[in-house]
Amino acid sequence: MTNSLFQPWLVPALPLAGMAINGLFGKRFSEKLVAAIALIATGCSFLVACLQALLLVNSGSPMLEQHYGTWIQAGKFTVDFGIYLDHLSLIMMLVVTGVGFLIHIYAAAYMHHEGGYYRFFSYLNLFMFFMLVLVLANNYLLMFVGWEGVGLASYLLIGFYFLKDSAANAGKKAFITNRVGDFGFLIALFMMIQTFGSVHYGSLYFNPGLVNALPLEHSTGILTMIGLLMLVGACGKSAQIPLFVWLPDAMEGPTPVSALIHAATMVTAGVYMVARSNPIFSRAPIALLAVAVIGTLTSFFAATIGMTQMDIKRVLAYSTVSQLGYMFMAAGVAAYSAGVFHLMTHAFFKALLFLAAGSVIHGIGGEQDMRKMGGLRKYMPWTFYTMATATVAIAGIPPLAGFWSKDEILWQAWSSPYGSKIFWAVGVITAFMTSFYMFRLLFMTFFGEYRGEAAVAHAGHDAHGGHGHTPHESPWMMLGPLVVLAALSIFGGFVGAGHRFEHFLDPVIQKVEAHRSALEVEAAAAPMTEEPAAEKSTELALMATSVIVALAGLGLAWFLYIKRPELPARIAAALGGLYTLVYNKYWIDELYKAVLISPLLWISTHVLWQSVDQKIIDGSVNDLAVTARDVSGVVRQQQSGLIRSYAGWIAAGAALVVAYMVWMGTR
């Protein structure tokens, strides 16, 4: 084997090549060839990623950094093109390429006979490229390249059905909301460059005298500012309060896109960023608290909305927002590895949920409204079993993947020095709601009687027309990825048992306590060693609690949607305004429109453009011109061309001169 196979740059480069080939020539290729190119590109990328991972883990070194030349050099400030591979980026890389590859396979079948097949796959490969740049970059500016790039790919893919206005609008909204977040990211970058003169992880975090040299900031300092600004960026990308509004709309895109970008990978970039910047956040407790609070609030509010939605993809979208909130909560209590662990398991089961939902939508002719589903279990058993697996996993029922990671988060929220019982309590309530709305989705979709119009052709809600017959199971090319993801959702959590996952990330997560004085560390460590037994029992009790609430959610969903299916409507009616409020997503979109967007457009049109520009500036200039014309009009009268008039003026002038001289002479 040649050495070049081990080059980490191949991981992002292969999808880029796939994008270029399909983008430039794909129009002339058959669908099979287009799919083959895209699949080979991502598949090989995944293989190289696996090789890289093996090499790094076996080498025993904490990280590998590769430079491929300088990108920007202005004065002393330089930015490299480079790859930074440590245990954190390794996990991200494997998740992105692995899940990405599975979703590519699925999409090859799902997008069959859609217009613009080659366009779709070149965008999808473009996304893979930018996402891998984001996670593999060795500095923040290059991360920002990936950061903006995934936003672009997401814009293009959401707007893939660009004939639909709603899709084009959703794509634009996603991009612009993300740009609002980028405001924070950019200023954080400026601040970083000004303070440390570098944006490279290696020098920022491992050079003594930069971030390492700074003490824990108990009040706002430079690190707190950087952390808070980064959080603004992270909120944009990871759809946290107050910038979450774009994600539910992004579901206008094709379902594989929702699975890949808006569930498994891109939206987790914010969590990755916080984890990557842990040396900064761990020194800035205020920023950390902000992360935890935003995460906790988001997870709670999104879950309440998720309980009321009727569109299968919207339920999953709010569920994603809510689960991302969990990851933020974990990062916010300085349990970064728990956040990344949940990021990974979530990538498995949420990708699976979306793909299974896509299979459902595909199987019943493009319908997304759960009220028109039901009883699909017998029509599409594979879809049902895999989706049920994912539902159990996300609900946090042991021993599936979601249980391990969610339990880890809740435990950390309780026990971490940055944690709080409040975070834990809200987390547990959210866990209950999660379990409830997920089983609600499962029961409404697969149980009971089929409520759709079986024989009527649908005019494709997901632009998926032409499947107007009785519900049918999807082809194997779609089911294969579902089965693999189901297996991952079952077994993927075991890597985290006994804090193994946490220890895997140890080289990445800096222990900031080490910077306190030695005495303090001893004092902090002492009680810990004294009561491991008590701690163990607390951990078990908390674990039991989270299992119980998950089962309670399942039970309630079963009672409301299987046992007494007429009840939900009555409850909704009884709740009245509250239900309407939640169902309409707290009218946040409408609020933003009324408070921000409409006034901005109105002011731009009526004040800035039509008043300031056209009336005030142009008006005064034009007035000046008119005045000049009028004045010259008066003066022009002198030049009448009449000899007598000129003679008169000469006489008057002469008289004036004579009078003046006489007056001068008499003085």
Binding site: G75, F144, E148, F162, L163, K172, F183, F190, W609
Partner: protein
Amino acid sequence: MYNHILSIILFTPLVGAFVLLCIPGSNKTAIRWTANFFGFLGFAVSLPLVSWFWAVKSLPGFKFMEGAPNSWIPTIGAGYYLGIDGISFLLIMLTTFLGAISILSSWSAIDNRVKEYYAWFLVLQTGMLGVFMSLDFFLFFVFWEAMLVPMYLLIGIWGGPRRVYASIKFFLYTLFGSVFMLLAIIFLYFFHHAQTGVFTFSILELYKTAPLLPAVYGPTAAVLLFLAFFVGFAIKVPMFPFHTWLPDAHVEAPTAGSVILAGVLLKMGTYGLIRFSLPLFPAVVHYPRLRLAMVTLSIIGILYGALVSLVQKDMKKLVAYSSVSHLGFCTLGIFTLNTLGLQGSVLQQINHGISTGALFLIVGILYERRHTREIAEYGGIGTVMPVYATIALIMFLSSMGLPLLNGFVGEFAILQATFLARPVWAAWAVPGVILAAAYLLWLYQRVFFGKVENPKNAALPDLTPRELATLLPLVALAFWIGLYPRPFFAILDQPSKEIVEMVEHPKTYNAAQPLKAAQVAQSAVESTPEAVR
């Protein structure tokens, strides 16, 4: 050739204009070929300069100097005196490059009075090149004014329905500015004589006496002189609130006129600020109030231009207002008064030439097919003209500053430099980046996405090879600067440092009149009354 390269570049287009005059006006094909030949030749003769300049880029001072001070009209001290540094070098390359592309883009758009059109266009090229090369104020002013006339005619004869209004507005605005500038130049000329006993318009000489102004005549006079220059340049840039001629001029100008207007002409304002306002008035630009005013106008320009762009209904007007926003970044970079800011500013001027030039070509291509620029008339163009839509997307992204494309590098450098100067300024300017995404993506969506609802759009032909040839070089440049901006920063390194040095520590005369010059030692800032500081 090496020693006269600047003259060759400068006069090639003018020679072309004369050659065109010798061709009978009825033979349009011959005229078009000849004009394109000279357009391309103008670019080709500037290419050797690239490698030659690269070799000497780090040498101090101006390079490739030609002629001498006072060599042209010795009695008044005017000279044919040329020379360039990295800043003028890049702007010259941009001019010859965009000139060739604009001439190529006019092939089918211009059909009446073809000969005059191309002749004036080539004259315009010489005028603009002269501005970037002159090291003599008299010569500079001649070129500065000379290029007004062809532009006026290009808009006034080959423009849209309101071309007369637009061209006169353009002419009067710029003339208004230049009058003040002329007065200030003459003042500096006499001031130089008073200090040294020599009459000269040589810019290099005036650099040495002008900084003495505040010490001799007091800060108020210096500020007034600065403002006299500033008005001339600010109108050209255009900075808020002097910008209202721009949308009218752009909307009425023919496509190639807009490309050159946005791509090169506006840069003469920013070039003037860098080349003259900073080194001639080093003390004045440091006055906190004045500097704050400049920065504030820049930031207003950024946000104002972007917000007004957002609500335009005419594509060309939208791009025109976006220029106000983009040029705001350029002037902001200048008034950071640090090296990075200047480098970013010049790079962003080049970027704006590439991106906005391309956007005007893109609008023009659609206009030639449909003869309307109303955004509402379009929709669904992406399905009808896929190649066009793809290139348009790339240039839209470049204009909104997406990383790996050119706009990002310039904007980032400027904003970083602004942050170094004063973090709050950067915080005010960054929303311009958000708004850029908003107005450009919204425009893109309305024109390219959706179904084709207007039957007139149903059968529009995609790009012709000639149109592709005008756009692809711009796309390539956008990627080049985005991926590998190092050569550009390297070229701009020396001149930016030198200008910052001139602003921080002006080197003035003290030979001729040591008494007066000695006052410089107590630099202007100290003698500034509180009111101005």
